[in-house]
Structures are given as C-alpha cells and as structure tokens.
C-alpha cells in the first residue's frame, strides 16, 4: 500500500503522461536535499478541460484544489481561470502537497511533447524530467536553492555529455550541443575520432571564447 500521494500520482499516470519536476526530481537525479512538496507536469498537450478531468478522476476523498497565488481553496467552476492565469494548481488534503503544473516556469505548454520524449523512465508509473529541462524550470527564480540545483545539474550534464562527446557520432554530438554547451564538453568533443565532431567542439570553444569564457580562451591559446 503506497502513500496517498503515490496512489494519486500512479492513478493519474495511468490516464495521462506525468513528469516529475521540482525538488523531488532533483533528489531523484541524485542530490541530497530537502523539499516540502511534490511538483509534477501533467501532459499539457491535451485541452485544459481534459487536463482537469484527469485530476478530477484521480482526486481522492478529502482532496481539494488550492490557488497558490491567492492562497485559498478553488471551487471547481473557477479551476480553468486559475490554471490559465498561473499555470499551476495545488492538490491539498493528501499526506503531502502536490503542485500540478500545466505551464512550468520558463516553459510553454507545447514544450511537454519534447520534454516527455527526452525524459527518463524512472519512478513508478511516471517519468523524470531530464537535466536540461529541469535547469530551465529553475532559471530566473531568484531563489538560492534553485541556483544550487542548477550547479548540481550542470555538473551531472557535463559529465554525462562529455563522456558521450568523446566517442559519439556527429548526429548525436549535434543533438547534445543543441541542448548544452560548456568548455569541458567542447574539449571532450575535441578528443573524438570523427573530424566533424572535433569541428563542433572547436566551434563551441570559439563561441564561448567570444563571450569571454576564460577556460575557452585558455584552451584556444594553448592550441595556437
């Protein structure tokens, strides 16, 4: 028997795609930190009416909807307006608060399809947002904790992407560089046996150096 939150999330995951984000996602990616509530992104490619119907079906007895902006309960007939305005609803009345996002910070509703495609099958019946998307949701919040999360996720990405970029083909390298760029990933690409990947690494270093990145400037100087 799982907790109320697990049962709720597993229930709605059977009806619709669900991605884990926020602090719990960062913990799932490996950082030991605390969090008070669960943040999820319920498939926002579906119309708002269907999106709310999924929540209605899964809401257990005693559960209720909460407006995070006005800090008050929301009546069923006002849900659409609240979601359109702030892009998130809190589910209360379970063992933990669950914040259900339709539009996470810095992302659009239509980004869900790409986020789902790049997500990691991980926890129970739902998936985990990958590091690149998780970083985006934590940008420009001004919260110190989000800055720490971004640092951790960047370190993880650097290690994962660098190990691929030293050996992968040009197609994969292009897709990785479309998602993330730093001096270490560029240097890893420069070790790749494929000259096309090495060229991408060099182009990345030049781009970073032009922006004043001291590591990239140093690497390019050494190459001269």
């Amino acid at each position: 028997m799982g907790s109320q939150s697990d049962e709720f999330l597993n229930g709605i995951s059977e009806k619709s795609h669900v991605l884990l984000l926020g602090g719990l996602a960062v913990i799932a990616h490996g950082l030991s930190r605390t969090t008070e509530d669960a943040d999820i992104w319920l498939d926002s490619m579906q119309p708002l009416e269907d999106w709310l119907a999924v929540l209605d079906e899964g809401l257990p007895e005693g559960g209720y909807y909460w407006d995070l902006l006005r800090k008050e309960r929301v009546a069923r007939e006002d849900l659409e307006e609240v979601v359109r305005e702030i892009g998130v609803l809190r589910i209360g009345g379970l063992d933990r608060y669950i914040n259900v996002f339709r539009k996470p910070n810095e992302l659009e509703e239509t980004d869900f399809a790409t986020a789902w495609a790049m997500s990691v099958p991980h926890i129970g019946k739902f998936r985990l947002l990958d590091e690149t998307f998780l970083i985006i949701t934590k940008e420009n919040t001004g919260r110190e904790r989000d800055g720490i999360d971004i640092g951790f996720l960047e370190t993880k990405l650097r290690s994962r992407f660098a190990s691929r970029l030293s050996v992968c083909n040009a197609e994969e390298a292009l897709s990785l560089f479309h998602r993330y760029l730093d001096h270490a990933t560029c240097e890893a690409a420069m070790e790749n046996p494929d000259p096309a990947v090495r060229e991408m690494g060099l182009a990345g270093l030049r781009e970073l150096a032009a922006d004043g990145n001291p590591f990239a400037i140093e690497v390019l100087k050494k190459r001269e």
């Binding site: 030991s32 605390t34 926890i123």
Partner: protein, 77 residues
C-alpha cells in the same frame, strides 16, 4: 525550439577562480608523496533506487533530520 543551456558567466568565473586558487596552493606546497586515496565511504539513503514519491520524500526527510542534528544552530549573539 528550446534554447541551449550554457552555464552563467558568474558560475564560470567562480569555477575559474576556484581552479586558479587550487593550482596556486598546489604549486606553493610542492610535490607530495604518493598516498593511497580514501575510498568513497558514503552510504546511499535507500538500499534500492527510489521507486516512489514516498522514497524521494524519505530521502528529503532524512536530509532534514541530519541538518537538524548536525547543522548550524541559531544563537542569541
């Protein structure tokens, strides 16, 4: 199309300065004798990978407990 992520200038410069300071320290103290490295002795919070929201909250609660027990305490001064 999502924009590509690049670490912020602030974090890149902080990393640069950290590395330069560490290099200076290493240069100042000179070469050290080879010593065996201490193996990673950290224990995972769970015996299995997290499989549910409850598992993830368990980790969060354990971290909170450790911080409460060992973290800095508020003082009146």
């Amino acid at each position: 199309m999502l924009k590509r992520h690049t670490p912020s200038r602030e974090s890149v410069w902080a990393e640069w300065e950290r590395e330069k300071r560490a290099a200076k320290r290493r240069a100042a103290r000179g070469p050290r004798p080879e010593r065996p490295r201490t193996p990673d002795n950290s224990e995972p919070w769970l015996k299995h990978p997290p499989q549910s929201i409850s598992d993830l909250f368990y980790i969060s609660d354990q971290v909170a407990e450790v911080v409460k027990k060992w973290g800095p305490k508020a003082t009146n001064s």
